[in-house]
């Protein structure tokens, strides 16, 4: 019988209690003549890169290079980048979740490198600098260092480093070992540090130190499982002890018989612990079972969420618990539906009628069987095996009515992607489980970070993802690494962007422009910004590029007034006032907004603005309004006089000139009146002033005002009429009516009626036109009743 498998998977399997573990070789290392034992190594999870630097604590053999060089390799041992190490003594080094390489130096400096050696750094502060760092633990997105006075300093977020001193555990000597439990795993949601001191463990966080009161110590090695739930402790007596990280559960104990602590102790596939001593790996399961793997070569273990990568001088291997689906199909003697389906397919290929029998056997579990095969295909590294499993699934599918093939199609896609990135040239050996956890988006980011833009774009297109990020990254990288003429570069980039961006709204050009600006190509930056559709992105960059005029223009185009304010206020702060106005002046919207702002916040700026723009009457208007805020009449008049001066400079403002002039006069008269009569006159209008004069008997004053301000006769009649009615001076009203009224006599009647004096009103009816009289009489009668 021909096997449809390249190698039967079970040949790599080894049983540990009731589970199987398999160890497969993924790569033969590309590097040559590397002896891992001479290096300090840091490997990133998710098939990430490996950083290596010569370990200066180990003896050099003559003839080897002396200079320290930092190497970044892929998992397949392909060199990504190397650079000379000039930064000082490394205390600890590790990769972060975003595949940045972090090193903690003795003087408390933290250096962060991207995969191409681009570097940034920050300091951990005074305490670290003064005492020096003796040890450090770096985890996914943060780090904790120990200073020589045994204080702990934590940084929770490497993107925005804020070093915080943790609570003082009052140590007098270095702990036997220590580890960090990242915040996402703790109950308190804040970072905890476990210090193995004496026979016990101290748990330190930002505010508290808690002694767990253990007696099994001292613990010379500790390790936290990938999910943060379990803690493996290696005691001085050579015992491996597993407890939960909340110290509540005692899970297993195993005596290794070695009092020397292992070089590395890591978790594998959730519940087993790998211990590495030179020459062999010991794998200890939860029930005390163990497997021993012997190695001649020195090695380095990189824990993954579903297994452990083992890097040796020659190979990269992956050790994991056999996934459930794979186990159910390939376990010797398995009668699970998946296994039977796979067998049926094998029979089918070999033209054996048993295939039919098999299918009948699992008639009702076919769907489960197909799903299992699909799943197992995903877990497979070997391409031929993948194909076999997928074909089996496809075969099984045929016997199901209405099977939704989405799962199948999706898995095929993912397998293609995984195979592409596992290819030794790329060297990212992701498993299916890791891929799901990592998400395709992050995978794309990692590919672009390594400059595999073409592959990234192809994967994006294949998975129908947006290619934008890749394109932007490509452009940025191009700008960073390009050494030729700016013109050529900008042509390449813009051509590329416009061609890949056909029909789509737009890319985030700002990011590229920023890079161009940073790399000293302002022209390209400006050109790129022109393509940017989002003003909110564009404008701040334009401001920092000193593109004053353009930034204002773009802000105005956006219609977002707040953005316009951002530019206006920035320009105001930055530029000499004349230049500032010059830019603003030609833009009506900017002018309007400046005016609105100034009216509430900065009147003096507004006056300057009006002055330079020669807006005389606007200046006068401000002064006019300001005059009302003055408390004494003198300063009010002063303000008004200045206003008058401005108004008179504008020939279209004769009315305002005259009114202001009159108002000044009126104010003076009112002040005088107030003094003489002890009544309030200020704030009254001219008509009101005359009215009040009449009421308080200042008739002469009223007449004088009337003539001085040339009050129209009609108005004066109204005022006098109202004043007479108000003071109930009915006799006076009658006398007044004897003259010929320019406003007729109906107002007399109306006012009398309003004052509830119908009797008085009736006196004026006869003076009205004959045809109006009946109606008027009727009204008066109505009121009387």
């Amino acid at each position: 019988m021909n096997s449809i498998l390249e190698t039967h998977p079970t040949i790599y399997w080894e049983a540990l209690h009731d589970k199987f573990y398999m160890k497969e070789e993924i790569y033969t290392m590309e590097w040559e003549d590397i002896n891992l034992s001479r290096y300090r190594i840091a490997g990133a999870p998710y098939g990430g890169p490996i950083a290596m630097i010569r370990d200066d604590s180990k003896i050099l053999t003559l003839g080897n290079e002396v200079k320290s060089i930092m190497y970044f390799y892929t998992s397949a041992g392909k060199l990504i980048y190397q650079f000379q190490w000039t930064h000082g003594k490394i205390i600890s080094m590790q990769w972060t979740d975003t595949e940045n390489f972090v090193t903690v130096l003795k003087d408390g400096t933290v250096c962060i490198f991207d995969i191409h050696g681009e570097f940034s750094q920050f300091s951990l502060g005074r305490e670290a600098k003064d005492y020096g760092v003796i040890d450090a633990v770096i985890w996914g997105s943060g780090l904790v260092v120990m200073t020589s006075n045994y204080r702990l300093i934590a940084v929770n977020n490497l993107d925005e480093p804020r070093p915080k001193l943790l609570s003082d555990a009052k140590l007098t000597e270095k702990p036997h070992s220590w580890i960090v439990l990242p915040p996402q795993f703790t109950l308190s949601r804040s970072l905890e540090v476990f210090l193995a001191v004496g026979n016990t463990i101290l748990v330190v966080d930002i505010s508290d130190v808690q002694d767990q009161l253990l007696i099994q110590g001292p613990f010379t090695k500790m390790s936290v499982s990938m999910d943060g739930k379990l803690l493996a402790l290696f005691t001085e007596k050579g015992e491996l002890w597993v407890i939960s990280t909340d110290f509540q559960k005692n899970l297993s104990q195993y005596n290794t018989g070695s009092t020397v602590p292992p070089d590395q102790m890591v978790w594998c596939s959730g519940d087993t612990v790998l211990l590495y001593w030179t020459g062999y790996i010991l794998m200890v399961g939860p029930f005390g079972d163990w497997i021993k793997y012997n190695y001649e070569s020195p090695l380095y273990l990189i824990p993954e969420i579903d297994g452990v990568r083992i890097i040796t001088n020659e190979t990269c291997e992956f050790l994991q618990k056999v996934p459930e689906s794979t186990e159910s199909i390939f376990r010797i003697g398995s009668t699970e539906p998946g296994a039977i389906l796979f067998d049926a397919y094998e029979q089918f290929v070999n033209k054996n009628p048993k295939a039919d029998e098999n299918i009948r056997m699992i008639k009702y579990e076919l769907e489960e069987a197909v799903d299992t095969c699909i799943q197992a295909a995903g877990n497979e590294i070997n391409i031929k095996n993948q194909k076999a499993l997928l074909k089996a699934a496809s075969f099984g599918k045929c016997f199901i009515e209405f099977y939704n093939s989405e799962k199948f199609v999706k898995m095929c896609q993912i397998i293609r992607v995984l195979n592409a990135i596992r290819f030794y040239e790329i060297g990212i050996p992701l498993t299916y489980a890791q891929y799901c956890r990592l998400t395709p988006e992050v995978l794309i980011d990692r590919l672009t970070n390594r400059y595999y833009h073409l592959l990234a774009i192809r994967i994006c297109n294949y998975l129908e993802m947006n290619t934008e990020r890749v394109v932007v990254h490509w452009a940025c990288a191009k700008i960073k690494t390009f050494t030729d003429d700016e013109e050529i570069l900008s042509k390449i980039i813009i051509d590329k962007l416009t061609s890949t961006n056909e029909g789509k709204p737009s890319l985030c050009y700002t990011e590229i422009a920023k890079e161009a600006y940073r790399s000293g190509m302002p022209k390209l930056a400006t050109k790129l910004l022109d393509f940017e559709s989002q003003a909110a992105n564009q404008v701040p960059l334009l401001i920092s590029m000193q593109e004053d005029e353009l930034s204002l223009k773009k802000a105005i185009e956006s219609g977002d007034t707040d953005l316009i304010y951002l530019v206006i206020l920035h320009l105001h702060r930055k530029l000499p006032i004349a230049d500032f106005f010059k830019i603003i002046n030609e833009k009506p919207l900017a002018c309007s907004l400046l005016e609105v702002y100034c009216k509430q916040q900065n009147l003096s700026l507004l006056k300057d603005f009006y002055y330079q723009a020669d807006y005389k009457s606007e200046t006068a208007a401000i002064l006019t309004n300001e005059s009302y805020k003055e408390t004494d009449v003198m300063s009010r008049i002063e303000k008004l006089k200045t206003a008058l001066k401005y108004y008179s400079e504008d020939k279209d403002r004769q009315f305002e000139v005259k009114s202001t002039d009159e108002h000044i006069k009126l104010l003076q008269i009112q002040e005088q009146l107030e003094k003489e009569t002890n009544q309030v006159f200020l704030e009254l209008s001219l008509s009101e002033t005359i009215f009040k004069c009449l009421i308080i008997g200042q008739t002469a004053r009223a007449s004088k005002l009337r003539s001085e301000f040339r009050i129209p006769e009609k108005r004066f009649w109204w005022i006098k009429l109202k004043a007479l009615v108000k003071t109930n001076d009915w006799e006076g009203l009658e006398n007044f009516a004897k003259q010929k009224s320019p406003i007729g006599y109906i107002p007399f009647i109306e006012e009398c009626l309003k004052a509830n004096a119908p009797q008085e009103a009736s006196k004026y009816v006869e003076k009205c036109d004959a045809d109006q009289r009946p109606a008027l009489w009727q009204r008066i009668r109505g009121e009387q009743q």
Partner: protein, 687 residues
């Protein structure tokens, strides 16, 4: 949920409307857009904000949005989410003992000043450690943060955003509730509110779908459209960045067109006195965010008339009040009659108890009783209010005012009418009223003759006070009250072309929108009518009302745009889509040229294919969103509701406005308010 279409259904009960054509179809379409979605959104966000602050808290609310907030969430709801007290944001001392103080305010600099004062004051008091939060409506602005920074309190406050933009005032009425938007846009040239409107429109489109057709008139309308397109592009670019596969806009918009009008296109309408029931309530009492404040004796709640405390009570006016929704759009002249009819009906219903014989009939009657009570209550309220308003309308001043006004809009500006304004000034009528009439005169004459202009300005300044030289300047800047210049007065042609004046108005069963002003049709709504009607008439037999428009103008414009039209119809044939948007300015360009501001007509690219559109939309009543920039009046709303029931329009309208205005509020916003503080100190009773 009541929708726009069911709204018109209700109206048909009133007896004023004609047959409602598409009742069956519109009620079938369950997906019809409902404004309550917006309310639910706003409500949820408010609650999220409150919940994000642990423990008891006090709210300080910007008075300009308190009306909107009361429409979004009732006090009991706020209480459930830990709000203990609510204050208005005001200047001056503010002593408060609490742990969390939450400000909800518009991003205005003046508000920042008040808040700063509060914080400074409290910081002197060390035992009262307060946590401050500011939630900006509808968004935080750099400029406000800057103000806070400058005075050094930026670090003391937690800043957030409350994206309350569109406030649904009723089933068919949406408002941004941006007070004084007219002044901001047309006097200050501050386009901030347009940006907010554009943002809100975009948000609306993410709910209802892209509105395929946009037409508009006016500078701001044009600006808004550009901003809207910009924002859409930005949003789509942003969306493309994220990998989400959910489409940004729903596939199929039920709103097929957006009509944008600047208030400056028609300033005549708000200057006229509104004569519908709701309009008059607004003119007399003022309606704020659907609430009217009435003396509690009017409301009819206080049974014991002995101790009438003159307390003001807030009464909501919306379509939940069935009687009100029946009355609101009617000319006031017929309201009394309807009320007595309703009174008789209610009486009959009560009398129905005598006919009740069997037990089940009693049960039915008891069941109806609650309803009857509510109806009775509402009847009492509206009868009282009508009574009050009637007093107001019977006043001779009011009638004279109305008469002059109606003459003006009819183009009669004889000397004695103009003299009436002088008398108003001399008689110390409120300045708003005077200015309304003056502005109307100026608008219908295309400016006032130099001599009169000088005269009135002097009269106003000398009578109402010197500060009004700036008021007058403001009025002339926005073109409300200006000197006659060389340009031709276009109003007479507009009046004729749009047939603004309709003499034989039957208020009881109106056949034209002009009933809302008893004989004058608002220009704004006439324009909308043109846009909806003329294009319709191309494919349909001419309905009778088309004769409304000056036939010659139609003819001439048809000739000039013949080519264009052909293109249009051929494209129509291509897509073979009879229900494609047929709102268009085509055919009335000539008229539009007479009014200020550019016109535009744009098709927004829509993602969906026409086949889908065809299938779904064929029998559904189309909806137009009408957007007023700078405010609209209740009469305009009523006229649009009336329009939607006309046979030749065949569409429903949803109105979105920056704010609801009337002549008084519009003029008020332009008056130079220097003396606020001083006036309150020296109150003097004149006359």
């Amino acid at each position: 949920m009541s929708t726009i279409s069911s709204f018109s259904q209700e109206r048909s009960v009133t007896g004023t409307s004609l047959t409602n054509l598409n009742n069956a179809n519109s009620s079938d379409s369950s997906s019809s857009f409902s404004t309550t979605i917006l309310r639910d959104f706003a409500r949820k966000e408010l609650i999220d904000i409150l919940d994000s602050i642990r423990g008891k808290k006090s709210l300080v609310i910007d008075p300009t949005i308190s009306g909107s907030l009361s429409l979004i969430a009732e006090f009991s709801l706020l209480k459930e989410h830990g709000v203990e007290n609510i204050y208005h944001l005001q200047p001056g001392r503010f002593n408060i003992q609490c742990q969390h103080l939450v400000y909800i305010c518009r991003p205005k600099m003046i508000n920042m000043k008040y808040i700063t004062e509060h914080i400074h004051e409290n910081s002197n008091n060390p035992d009262n450690e307060i946590q401050y939060y500011i939630y900006f409506v509808p968004r935080r602005t750099m400029i406000c943060e800057r103000v806070l920074e400058d005075v050094g309190v930026y670090g003391d406050v937690t800043i957030g955003e409350y994206h309350l933009d569109i406030v649904p005032l009723d089933d068919d009425l949406l408002s941004m509730e941006l007070d004084n938007s007219f002044k901001d846009l047309f006097l200050d040239g501050d386009m901030t509110s347009l940006y907010y409107v554009a943002k809100a429109l975009l948000k609306l489109q993410t709910i209802v779908g892209i509105i395929p057709k946009i037409i508009g008139k006016g500078k701001c309308a044009n600006y808004l459209k550009d901003t809207l397109f910009n924002l859409r592009r930005e949003l789509e670019a942003n969306h493309a960045n994220s990998i989400s596969s959910i489409p940004l806009f729903p596939l199929n918009s039920e709103i097929d067109s957006l009509i944008i009008l600047d208030r400056s296109v028609d300033v005549i309408t708000p200057m006229c006195t509104q004569l519908t029931y709701e309009g008059l309530i607004d003119e007399v009492y003022g309606i704020k965010s659907t609430f009217v404040e009435l003396d509690s004796s009017l409301v009819g709640l206080t049974q014991n008339t002995a101790n009438i405390s003159h307390k003001l009570k807030k009464i909501p006016l919306n379509s939940n009040d069935k009687l009100f929704s029946q009355l609101r759009d009617m000319n006031f002249a017929v309201v009394g009659g309807i009320l007595s009819q309703v009174a008789r009906r209610i009486q009959d219903d009560y009398e129905g108890r005598h006919q009740v014989k069997t037990v089940s009939q009693i049960r039915d009657f008891i069941g109806k009783l609650n309803n009857l009570r509510a109806e009775h209550q509402s009847l009492r309220l509206h009868t009282n209010m009508t009574e009050e308003i009637r007093k107001f309308t019977l006043d001779s001043d009011f009638n004279k005012f109305l008469e002059v006004q109606q003459n003006f809009i009819a183009g009669i500006t004889s000397h004695n009418l103009v003299e009436y304004i002088e008398e108003m000034i001399n008689n110390q009528q409120p300045i708003e009223k005077t200015i309304r009439l003056l502005s109307l005169l100026s608008s219908v004459c295309g400016g006032i003759k130099a001599k009169s202009y000088e005269f009135f300005r002097k009269e106003i300044v000398q009578t109402y006070g010197y500060q009004h030289i700036i008021t007058l300047d403001n009025l002339s800047k926005v073109g409300l009250f200006k000197k006659h210049d060389k340009s031709k007065n276009t109003y007479p042609s507009v009046r004729k072309a749009l047939k603004l004046i309709v003499d034989d108005v039957d208020e009881h069963s109106p056949n034209d929108i002009s009933y809302v002003y008893s004989g004058y049709a608002p220009i704004s709504v006439r324009l909308i009518q043109c846009a909806c009607l003329l294009s319709n008439s191309k494919s349909m037999p001419l309905p009778s009302t088309t004769s409304l428009f000056n036939p010659s103008s139609i003819l001439s414009s048809n000739n000039t745009t013949n080519n264009y039209d052909d293109n249009h119809s051929s494209s129509n044939n291509n897509t073979n889509n009879s229900s494609q948007s047929n709102v268009s300015w085509k055919g009335c360009e000539e008229i539009l040229k007479l009014l200020p501001g550019p016109i535009f007509e744009e098709e927004q690219p829509v993602i969906n294919n026409s086949i889908y559109l065809n299938k779904k939309n064929q029998n559904q009543r189309k909806i137009s969103l009408v957007l007023f920039l700078g405010g609209c009046t209740f009469t305009e709303i009523s006229s649009l509701r009336f329009l939607s029931q006309q046979e030749d329009i065949q569409r429903d309208f949803i109105i979105l406005t920056t704010d609801i205005i009337n002549g008084n509020t519009l003029v008020d916003s332009l008056i130079n308010q220097v003396q606020d503080e001083i006036k309150s100190l020296t109150t003097l009773n004149y006359s």
